[in-house]
Amino acid sequence: MQTEDYLIPLGTGAERIVDDLDGSLTLSVAASETFTTTYWDTADWRIYRDGGLLETVRVGRKSETLWRRRENGDEVARWAGKCPGFAWDFPEGEGRNLLEPVIIMRALLPMVTVRGTLRRAAVLNGDDKTVARIEAVDLDGKKSGVPLPGLVRILPVRGYDADFAKLKCAITTETRLAKMDRDRGTVLFEALGIDYGVDPNKIDVSFKPEMKAGSAVKSVLLHLLDIMEANSQGVIDDVDTEFLHEFRVAVRRSRSALVPFKDCFQKESFARFKDDLSWLGRDTGDPRDMDVWLLKFPNYKAMLPDEVKPQLDPLGGFLKKKRNASYAKLRRDLKTKRYDAFVRDWRNFLEADGPQGAVQPMAEEPVSALADKWIGKFYKRLIKEGSAIDPQSPAEALHDLRKTCKKFRYQIDFFASLYPKTKFKSAVKELKRLQENLGDFQDLEVQADSLRGFASEMIEKGGKDGEVYLAMGMLVSDLLQRQAEVRKEFGERFDRFAGEQNRALFNELFIDKQNTSNQTEETGA
C-alpha cells in the first residue's frame, strides 16, 4: 500500500473534500495549520533530474527539510531545520552521503516558495484507532498571481490495508477527485509556469541535414550565448563554482564555433565579437584555475603523509586570497559597458534573419556539408599530429595534440545531431579516453608549474612558514611522477583511437561521405 495524491480542482477547497469524506468514514480532524514550503534545487535541477524533490516545510517555528523520490513519494532523507547551501553543509550521515554525488559542488537555491493550509484527518476504526491518514492542502496563489491547485494525500497505516482500500474507494465515490499522475512538485512548477527540470547548460540543438549552414552555426552560437547569460549573474554573486565553469566553457565553445562560422560569414563582420570572446576567455582563466585548485585542495592534502598534511594549510589560505582577487576583477568586467554591449550586439547579430555581415556562399549550403568538412579536417589533423608523437617527443607535442583534440571534440559536439546516435557514440568513446589521458598529462604539468609559481609568490609576499614549501615540494615531485606514468599510457590510448576499427567508423561517419558528395558534385559538374 502506497501513499496516493489526488488533485483538487481549482475552486474546490480542501475543507470541502474533508467534509465530504467525513460522512462515509469516521474521521478525527485536527485544527488546520498554515505552512510554507520551499522547493530547493541546483541551478541545473540536479535533484529533479535525479528523480527527486527537496523541500523545506515550515509550520510555525519548526522547519524540516525532506528529500523524496518523485515517482512514489518515498523518503530518501530528512533533516531538521532549513536547507543548507551546499551538500557539505548538511549534518554528517547517510542522507548527506547520498546527496553529495547528486549535487556535488553545486549550491542549493530556492526555486519556488508557496504558502498553504494543511488539514490533517485520521480515519478511525471502532476502537478509535487510526487506520489511515488524510492530508488535504490548499495552496495560496496570491503571491504568484495564479490560482494554484490543492491536493489530497492519503497515507496508509501499516497492517490496515483493508481500511486504506475503503478510503480509496470513498475518495472516488464521495469526492470524485482524480488521482495525480505526476508528483506534486511538477504539478506546482507547471501551474507556476516555471521552466523546471532542465539543464540550462546542455547544448540541445538539433539540425536537419538540409538546414542552411549559416543559420545552423548561428543557432549553436546563440545557444552558447544563452548559457553565458544564464550563468553570468551566478558568477557575479559567486553562488557556486559551476556558474563560472559553465560560463567559461560556453565562451570557449563559442570561440571554437567561430572556426566553421568564418566559412559562412566574412571575418571582418564578426571580428569584434571574436576579440570580446578572447577577452572573456582570458578573464575567466585565472578565477577558474583558482576554483579548481581549491576544489582539489583536499585531494592534494590527501596525497601527503599524515604528519605533513597540516603544513599545506598556508597554501589553502594563499589560494583563497588569490581566488578572491581574480573573481573581483572578473566581476568588475562582467558589469562593464563592454560586456553589456557584447551580449546585446552579439545577440542582435546572431538573431538577425537576413544576410547580416558579408555572407559567404557556404552559409547557404546544407549544414551537413559544413560539419563533414570541419570534422574531417580536424580528424586528419589529429591523426597526423598524434602519429608523429613518439616517446622522445617533447611535452609541447602532446599539449598541441590536446588542443587539436579539444577543437575536434567541440566540432563533433556541435554537429552531433546530424549523425546516427549509436555509431557516433562509439566513435566518440575512444576520443574521450584519449582526451582524458592528454588532459591529465597537461593538468599535472600545469599543476606542478603553478605550485612552483605559487611558492615564489608566497615568498615574495613575505611568507615565512618554511614547512609549507617542503610540503609543496613533495606535491610537485608526486605530480611529476604521476605525469610520467600518464605519458606511458599515451601510446596505447592513441593507438586505440587511431586503430583500424575506429578509423573505419570515422571514415564511414564523416570522411567517406564527404568524398562521395564531392564525387557526386564532380560527376554532376
Binding site: A80, D127, D128, K129, T130, P156, R158, G159
Partner: protein, 247 residues
C-alpha cells in the same frame, strides 16, 4: 537497531507504561521504533488500540513460518509500529523449546527488521522463563523498573547475579525506580541509600502519580495527552535521555 527489553520478574511495576512511553518519546525524536508486546495479557497492545491478535499465533511466528513484517501494525504515531500480543504467547516457551537454538531464537526472529528500525522495545511478561532468557540474549539493554522496596532490590540483585552467571555482559543493565513516592520514608531511604553493588540504578525515576494510571483510560502514551511540563512526562524524558547515554 538497538533492542531494549523492559523486564521485571514481578508484575505491576510500571513495565508496560515504561515501554509505551519510552517508545513514544523515541519515535517523536524521529527514530524508527517497534514495540513487540510479548506479554500474552497484551497491555501494550491495548494502550495502542490494536487488536491482540497475531495471524498464525506464537507457533508459526517462532517456527519462522510467518513473516514478521506481515504481522506489524502501525500505531497512531509516526515512526512507531507494533508487533501485537496474542493469547497464544502464553505457550511461547514450549514453541521456543522446540527450536534448534531456543535461547537465540527471538534475536533471529528480529533480524529481518534490522534495517527498518532504530529501536525495538520488547515488553516482556513478568516471569523467569525461556522467553525471558531469550530476551536477555537478544537485548542490548535491559530496562528494569523497580519499586523502591527491600524485596524489589533483592529481585534486582538476583537478576544481576543471573546476568553474571550466564555471561550476559553485553546486555547493559538499566534498572530505575518506578512508581516512586518520595513522601514515603521507606521509598526515600531506599532511593537515597543504595548499596555500592547496586550503583547501576539510573538517576532518573518515575513518580507514582495518577497521570500514569490514566494511560489505561486514554489508551495512549502519557506524553501524547499530557502537558510537557507535568512531572511524570519530564521524568520519562529524563529516563529516556539517561538510557540513550548508556547504550
Amino acid at each position: 537497531m538497538k533492542i531494549l527489553a523492559t523486564y521485571n520478574i514481578k508484575g505491576g511495576v510500571g513495565k508496560t507504561a515504561t515501554t509505551v512511553n519510552l517508545a513514544y518519546l523515541a519515535a517523536m525524536e524521529g527514530a524508527r521504533v517497534l514495540v513487540w508486546d510479548l506479554d500474552p495479557q497484551g497491555a501494550a497492545t491495548y494502550y495502542f488500540r490494536v487488536k491482540p491478535k497475531v495471524k498464525g499465533g506464537a507457533k508459526k511466528l517462532v517456527k519462522g513460518k510467518s513473516e514478521v513484517e506481515d504481522l506489524l501494525k502501525g500505531s497512531d504515531y509516526e515512526n512507531l509500529d507494533l508487533l501485537p500480543a496474542d493469547f497464544s504467547y502464553r505457550h511461547m516457551d514450549l514453541h521456543l523449546d522446540d527450536t534448534k537454538k531456543p535461547m537465540a531464537r527471538l534475536k533471529k526472529m528480529l533480524q529481518p527488521l534490522a534495517d527498518d528500525y532504530d529501536y525495538v522495545f520488547l515488553d516482556c511478561p513478568p516471569s523467569i522463563s525461556l522467553v525471558s532468557e531469550n530476551v536477555f540474549t537478544a537485548a542490548d539493554g535491559l530496562i528494569v523498573p523497580i519499586i523502591p522496596t527491600t524485596l524489589s532490590l533483592r529481585t534486582l540483585d538476583q537478576l544481576m547475579t543471573f546476568r553474571k552467571k550466564n555471561k550476559l555482559h553485553k546486555t547493559v543493565m538499566l534498572p530505575f525506580f518506578s512508581m516512586a513516592d518520595r513522601r514515603r520514608k521507606l521509598h526515600r531511604d531506599i532511593m537515597d541509600g543504595l548499596p555500592d553493588e547496586l550503583d547501576v540504578v539510573l538517576k532518573a525515576y518515575i513518580p507514582n502519580c495518577s497521570d500514569v494510571e490514566l494511560m489505561g483510560l486514554k489508551r495512549a502514551p502519557l506524553p501524547s495527552y499530557t502537558q510537557k511540563s507535568k512531572k511524570a512526562v519530564r521524568s520519562y524524558k529524563q529516563l529516556w535521555k539517561e538510557i540513550k547515554e548508556k547504550i
